[in-house]
Symmetry: D2
Subunit: 303 residues, 4 copies
């Protein structure tokens, strides 16, 4: 398939819509000042073909997309034991809700809501230097060094009262092993990783290759684990819009409030789109449109 021309077509079709709708995340200054009129798209196939268009090499804050890689680190470390106190079901509630956590005794519904990612981070903190390992994993997948935007991490920490509430709440149920402050610090740093569409398409590509690193063929996850991560992305990866993504796009996706969305076509390719303006569900508005166009143009869908 001529992926480059598909991506070019999508970028061209969306160009007139840049910055017209949606709203850039503004809860911290470093995100609020990102210009809305940007759009990038990149993909990498399982056999190494790459294509990209638009602002595809501009680094942005990956935010919740880091939850995907934190999950991968934790599954590598702990395997299925990870699920002892973390669920795998869609939450049906806002990503930062405390309600469900209360009725379910501090056990988060899945690793992609904030509470679940904090629980995953807690496990990482117990087992490794979690900031360094995150960067090492991403670098090994992208073939180039990845860094953290310390300004973003500091802003997240200074304003992250809701996450502090979630972490303290889980701690009150005995669901975190480590110091709340330490867990939050690592979590905020993971959210503050910055990467481009090209880098993220590479970094997610192993999920379309049954778990094998596309650069080195090193095994990142077992085939079964890779497929299961894809299934979690599909059912839980896009905040409150998982059903909508499955319905309209039909691919496992993980989004972040920085405006990025990573998508996987199992056994074929990984894809990353980015555009900072978000819809009311916190997902990139043009990112979703781009993915819907991609699915329609290529016929690639898991359903």
């Amino acid at each position: 398939m001529q992926f480059q021309s598909v991506l070019d077509d999508i970028a061209a079709a969306l160009a007139p819509e840049l910055g017209r709708e949606g709203k850039v995340a503004n809860y911290i200054p470093a995100l609020a000042r990102v210009p809305a009129q940007q759009f990038g798209i990149a993909l990498r196939t399982g056999d190494g073909e790459e294509a990209h268009a638009g602002d595809s090499t501009t680094a942005f804050s990956i935010q919740s997309i880091s939850k995907l890689f934190a999950l991968v680190l934790a599954l590598r470390e702990m395997g299925e034991k990870l699920w002892d106190h973390i669920g795998r079901e869609p939450s049906g509630n806002p990503f930062n809700s405390l309600v469900q956590l209360e009725s379910e005794q501090g056990i988060p519904r899945n690793p992609f809501i904030n509470a679940g990612a904090l629980a995953v981070t807690d496990r990482l903190v117990s087992a490794m230097d979690a900031k360094a390992q995150m960067l090492a994993l991403l670098a090994s997948l992208c073939g180039e060094p990845i860094d953290i935007d310390e300004e973003v991490a500091a802003s997240e920490a200074a304003t992250g009262f809701r996450n502090a509430a979630l972490a303290n709440f889980m701690k009150s149920f005995g669901r975190l092993d480590n110091d709340v402050g330490k867990v939050l610090d690592v979590y905020f740093h993971h959210c503050a990783v910055r990467m481009s569409c090209v880098q993220l398409a590479r970094a997610a590509c192993f999920l379309s290759r049954d778990g094998l690193n596309p650069l080195s063929d090193e095994r990142i996850l077992t085939e079964r684990q890779a497929r299961r991560v894809n299934s979690l992305m599909l059912t839980c990866g896009t905040y409150d819009a998982a059903g909508e993504f499955a319905y309209r796009i039909g691919l496992p996706c993980k989004s972040g409030v920085g405006g990025g969305i990573v998508a996987v076509v199992p056994d074929r390719l990984a894809l990353c789109v980015w555009s900072p303006a978000l819809d009311h569900t916190g997902n990139s508005l043009l990112g979703m449109k781009a993915l819907e166009m991609f699915a329609a143009k290529t016929g690639l869908s898991i359903f």
Copy 2:
């Protein structure tokens, strides 16, 4: 692939477990007296191959699997307008919960929870003789007449206070167009349809054929609609266990408390398993195991 031997292997492997765990639905006598020690499995590929094993021709109460076919009838009738007051997101709450319905003003989360299916039934009641059309659709898909267990329908009606609460609750928000009693009557009759694994595998096969009836090549749904129904099954089709099904099985499924589960492998085949003993999520315990074995043995998964 040698599907017949795969199904034979699964049936043989599960034979020692029949009736050992789980609990047959007992809220109405007609379901409670179904012997637990039964297991059937059947599939039909898109190009017409069939295979089956165990009690695969025994008719059982399809219960919530009828929600799948009610949705199909409604999508044929109304297209995307169906979604005006029915959501497409996983609910994260029990299938018969009223809580979410209250906070969301009587709009059900998706067509596969009870509230959503009642809303779908309401639309059918407005547009057609919904009992007759349900049976006609199923007969056209199976190639043989299908009927309703009137004893089950009557029992459902006599004990269906929770469903009556849901329907009255939606009516109080102005979300049902028709008389509550009429909607409930049709809903209970749809739940009381009886079919075998072989029949259900045939009936669902069009979902693996981009919407084409496997017997007549008549178009039941558009390709896009068929794929979207599959996506709804994956995210919402198995009560509170959608995430677990996606994680362990990786196929779109729709289950019922009669112990049946229909699964679809897009572009390949449809499958039905049945065993009456349920787990705590209301899904067939051995049915889930059988599907997990099937996915593992065949490598068929959408992820």
Copy 3:
């Protein structure tokens, strides 16, 4: 104390505000067409003094004030056994909410929310001709016949989907002994009783007389029961505004969406105010103001 002049002063002070704020209940035509510009107030002391002002002899729909007398009938019949499956705590949720009922297994929080009143009605239906007994009780307390507005009762029944949802929901938990339709019918008829301020002040007067009928000295409730009914009115009698009533007025009250509010000053008197325009909590806007003025002018408060 010169109660007549107190009531005259209140009526005069509120006259300019009649119909200026608030909204008459409009969910059924018979309530919607009640002119907003009406205000009545009446009291009866324990030793038989009466005073009244404004539209104090105009009959209005007592609505939820009937819950008070249904509770009295049930306490007389069953004593403390009434509380087996009905709570006595404030609900903290809207009066017609189903949420709490779900988490608390169909046991209503208190007898003054709709669910609780339906449960009380269910017990009455088991024990007596509940419509006739309600009218007989009220007549014996007022010294004159009381009747039911059948148009209101019929309208309530025709539009009472939320109450039907509540009743079916409790029935689904096994919390109602009688047929749902029968319970609803009696409940709607109780709500449709019509009385004037003068009549209601008399009818509630026994609660300020340790349970003795002011006309006959017949014992309606034991002293302890009467005091406990007063305490339930204070903590649960005014929908979501029980705290506000206690804070601003400091008297046990029971209100209805017809615009009436009954208040009790233990060991002194009972009082009824009526004005049809409601505030956002469903309580009579001028009724609350009148009670606040009464408490301020007389210094009568339980605190």
Copy 4:
């Protein structure tokens, strides 16, 4: 009335029950090691009569009873402005629930649930040296110095993850003006005040004297404020058991998990009971019994 003999009778009647039922609060060591077999009771009338029995001069951790005095400090400072972002309604949910806080945008239901007391503390922190002022107020009411158990305060801080969650949650809604850590520190110190029954009966006595300090006749609150504090105690003062207290005891009360309960008979007296073993609602089991006996023996009730 012979209050001394009433208290003696109550102490004698309850002696055989000491330590038989209930459970001492055990979430921190300093509370867990308090011997269960203790009971004290004390009262002070508006005109200065005192009576006490049992362990009435043993100091205990006042815990949530401090919320009463924090409220008094805040009302003195801010008057009705205090209610700008704090409600006055019973919560219907556990005292440390985050659920309602989420649906109500971080505004706590009332000043006696933990969230509400944290909000009150936040206002105090803005206006005064809140630890010193609390001790000064209590000393002026008791006529002797009062201190804080620093071990308890430190333990509360070390284990108070739920309160940290509540405070961070409110902060995330912009409902706290001060640093979360500072607010928590003051809150934990207020909870760790230790006083005896005799001291607390004196300290609460102004609430039965229309707001006048019983020792100095200094005005602590206006009459209206004092009555309103009493109403808040009645509707919200005893965790989830406010309705039960009103029903069985009929007096405004404020309880703490240290096992103390303060009660007020408006225009008559204030009373304090203490016994460390708690019932499932977190209120002193024998304390409630003692209050019920007191109300029955004296006929003192507000209803």
